[in-house]
């Protein structure tokens, strides 16, 4: 999945369903060309739809199929596999290691999303208060950090924390903390986890901050003014004015970040491959490990399916909450 996909959804969607019946313009109908002209649009979008079906729906359907089969290296090569019903799901759900991974995935997601939202909000508020030059500098740095390719950024982080040549160890040692001389960060589970969280937060903050900042500029200034006249402090203004006005945007950014951190795979795979031990193994990493290292494509597919279900579950919760609030506010 390209990361860029979600980044294009920068505008606030309207969640209110459009209940007006759509007015259909009366069409002057030429007798013979009618059918052909009606089919034309479908013919024109057919290649795009076909391509999408082949690239998105087919792999998904295939993964569902494999998750219901006994599918290992032998079946991958010979091409025929037996159906075993829900056996793979039973195997997974009864494996305590799998549940540890699920727990870790949620911890990873919650930590990331929380940090991203807090830091991005603070950055957005700061940018709004900056003068032109400062604002340009901050926005440019945000865009640059955001434009950095994922693998490149991950590699840079890997080098920052390299035990032998890393600048972090060098700095800490030169500050007198000699215990960090050649300290192997990636040998320590907690340290690796924290480094990955830092990396992902660093990569995600720009998008969230810019989106929130652009939304902030739409808040009418009069609201702030009258709130201030009523004697509200900064915290109160944020709680009573800014946040309520921007709630749809906050929820949108939040759900996008949930999706993004839930499926953060590239960073982890490049940096630690889920190690040391299982310390940084979250669901997508677990699925790939199971499928490719142990040649259990069936269990790997089942794990991916469960990931999709869990992720949709989280999102459904958010959307329900959001719709409810929207209804209340009407």
């Amino acid at each position: 999945m390209p990361v860029a996909e979600k980044r294009t959804a920068a505008r606030a969607p309207r969640w209110r369903p459009d209940t007006r019946p759509t007015a259909r313009p009366a069409r002057p109908a030429g007798a013979g060309g009618r059918r052909a002209s009606r089919l034309w649009p479908y013919a024109l979008v057919a290649p795009a739809v076909g391509g999408m079906l082949y690239l998105l729906v087919y792999p998904l359907a295939r993964a569902v199929l494999i998750s219901l089969q006994d599918f290992r290296l032998r079946q991958l090569i010979s091409g025929d596999a037996e159906f075993v019903g829900l056996r793979n799901y039973r195997t997974l759900l009864s494996d305590p290691r799998f549940w540890e991974v699920v727990q870790r995935t949620f911890l990873f997601m919650a930590l990331n999303v929380f940090l991203i939202m807090v830091i991005a909000t603070l950055v957005a508020l700061m940018v709004e208060r900056l003068r032109r030059i400062g604002r340009t500098v901050v926005l440019c740095s945000l865009v640059l950090a955001w434009a950095m390719p994922v693998v490149a950024a991950t590699t840079v982080f890997q080098w920052l924390f390299h035990s032998e040549f890393g600048i972090v160890n060098q700095t800490l040692t030169s500050l007198g903390l000699t215990s960090f001389d050649r300290y192997p960060w990636f040998a320590n589970g907690t340290a690796s986890f924290v480094i990955l969280v830092t990396l992902i937060v660093w990569q995600s903050v720009p998008f969230a901050a810019i989106t929130l900042y652009s939304a902030l500029t739409t808040v009418p200034l009069e609201l702030y003014e009258s709130a201030r006249l009523d004697g509200a402090g900064a915290g109160r203004i944020f709680r009573s004015v800014t946040f309520p006005v921007l709630r749809p945007i906050f929820l949108l950014v939040l759900s996008l970040e949930v999706i993004w951190t839930f499926k953060a795979f590239v960073q982890i795979w490049v940096m630690t491959r889920g190690g040391p031990g299982d310390a940084t193994t979250i669901l997508p990493v677990y699925a790939v490990q199971t499928a490719l290292s142990s040649q259990r494509y069936d269990l790997g597919s089942a794990a991916s399916m469960i990931t999709v279900v869990l992720m949709s579950g989280v999102l459904v919760l958010y959307f329900r909450q959001m719709f409810r609030q929207e209804d209340e506010s009407r």
Binding site: R74, I77, L292
Partner: protein, 420 residues
């Protein structure tokens, strides 16, 4: 109708491009020549050897073209898996001897049992022939073997007053290494995750990486023998500046030695060629001795590494593939390969080919005590995940050996039995 012309023209161009794409794959062209696609591994052959062999092969088999692709070891398991499952598999693939069992079992390889006679199967090295067989059928053809020895700097040994020939036991080895580990010199450059070397130390103590009982394999790093092996690794590792959290490929240890500070590395003798290639100033200053054992009369146990050649069941030109294997594993080229790359030839009767080579002599002394990783298809999963590396780093950085070993053994057990 300018546009129609344009459209017609582009269709023609497209068609031409498509047919151009498809022509290399149907390699039996009009001139009756067939292309045999070969995947060899990094450091399996040198450029010069590859050119010489290809030229000679094509001269002797005028109807066959050889196309060799050199693959990297990192991530090779997945690449081979994908190739075996696809329709466009290469005709010959080199597979490491610890990985060949799972492919032999997979059903994706051509059964070469009937060809073993013409391929001189009677005196193959067992460390290569056994993993290539599954249920009595031979799928992997032994290609070459190698085991690790100590590569050392003669000049640094001389300066420190150490006589390499006198190093026969572990104690003598660590004493000498400690003596060398002074000033800017590293006694030995031993990265923390060189698990084949650890395996040797564990075998010396009488332990193993995994043990089978009643048909089930389980990790055995937590036995007292295995723990003693790890303790010795830690003692030796401390006599140099090897990073505790990486293996010999990161950074490549030959390049580290080429920088001139390391007095010893543990490597296949071929590694010495790479050192000299990177730093010609060290030419003539490198020599070898077998990894010392616990007592003077037996050298240390070593992992016998090496490769097999396999033919995918989906290969387009199996007959030409066998011809290629027959040449590359035949007397002439095995002898040349052994000398050029400092490898052990694939057959015991060819061992004399490298008798004059000092690296090979050290290797042969060690090979007498050569061992293999557990011969079961499940082992490849252990290597793919490699909990042993995490275990080594954990112990070297101050973790409790018993606790870490228990955890690692548990991970090995899980990985080995993931397929059942």
């Amino acid at each position: 109708m300018k546009y129609r012309l344009l459209a017609g023209g582009s269709v023609l161009v497209l068609a031409a491009a498509l047919s151009a794409c498809s022509s290399p794959s149907d390699s039996a062209g009009g001139d009756g020549r067939t292309t045999v696609d070969v995947w060899l591994m990094r450091d399996s052959v040198s450029d010069a050897f590859q050119k010489e062999f290809t030229a000679d092969f094509e001269k002797r088999h005028p109807t066959i073209d050889v196309k060799v692709q050199i693959q990297e070891w990192d991530g090779i398991g997945q690449k081979v898996t994908a190739a075996l499952a696809g329709n466009d598999a290469p005709d010959v693939i080199e597979v490491g001897n610890t990985q060949v069992a799972q492919f032999a079992q997979s059903g994706g390889l051509l059964d070469l049992t009937d060809r073993t006679d013409e391929l001189n199967g009677e005196d193959w090295l067992s460390g290569l022939a056994e993993p290539g067989a599954y249920e009595g059928r031979q799928y992997g053809i032994p290609y070459y073997a190698a085991n690790r020895v100590v590569v050392y700097r003669t000049d640094l040994f001389e300066q420190a007053g150490v006589d390499a020939a006198a190093i026969r036991t572990r104690e003598q080895w660590t004493d000498a290494t400690a003596q060398l580990d002074k000033g800017g010199t590293q006694g030995i450059y031993l990265p923390g995750q060189m698990w084949y070397t650890l395996a040797g130390f564990i075998w010396d103590e009488g332990g193993d990486l995994a043990a089978e009982s009643g048909g089930t394999w389980s990790g055995a790093l937590d036995t007292p023998e295995a723990l003693r092996g790890m303790a010795f690794y830690k003692e030796l590792q401390a006599l140099g500046k090897g990073p505790k959290d990486s293996d010999e490929d990161d950074p490549p240890q030959a390049e580290v030695m080429a920088q001139g500070q390391a007095a010893q590395i543990i490597s296949t003798p071929g590694g010495a060629n790479v050192v000299v290639e990177k730093n010609p100033g060290l030419k003539g200053k490198l020599a070898f001795f077998p990894i010392p054992g616990k007592t003077a009369d037996t050298p240390g146990a070593v992992f016998t590494g090496g490769s097999d050649l396999v033919v995918p069941a989906a290969a387009g030109h199996p007959e030409e593939a066998v011809t290629f294997i027959k040449e590359l594993t035949g007397d002439t080229w095995q002898k040349k390969l052994a000398v050029a790359m400092s490898y052990v030839p694939n057959r015991t009767s060819l061992a004399s080919a490298v008798a004059g080579d000092p690296g090979a002599a050290a290797m042969a002394a060690g090979a007498a005590n050569g061992r293999a990783t557990p011969n079961t298809p499940g082992w490849a999963a252990v290597e793919a995940e490699n909990p042993i590396k995490d275990y080594m780093t954990a112990v070297l950085t101050g973790g409790d050996p018993e606790k870490e070993a228990a955890q690692a053994s548990q991970d090995i057990t899980r990985a080995m039995n993931a397929d059942s």
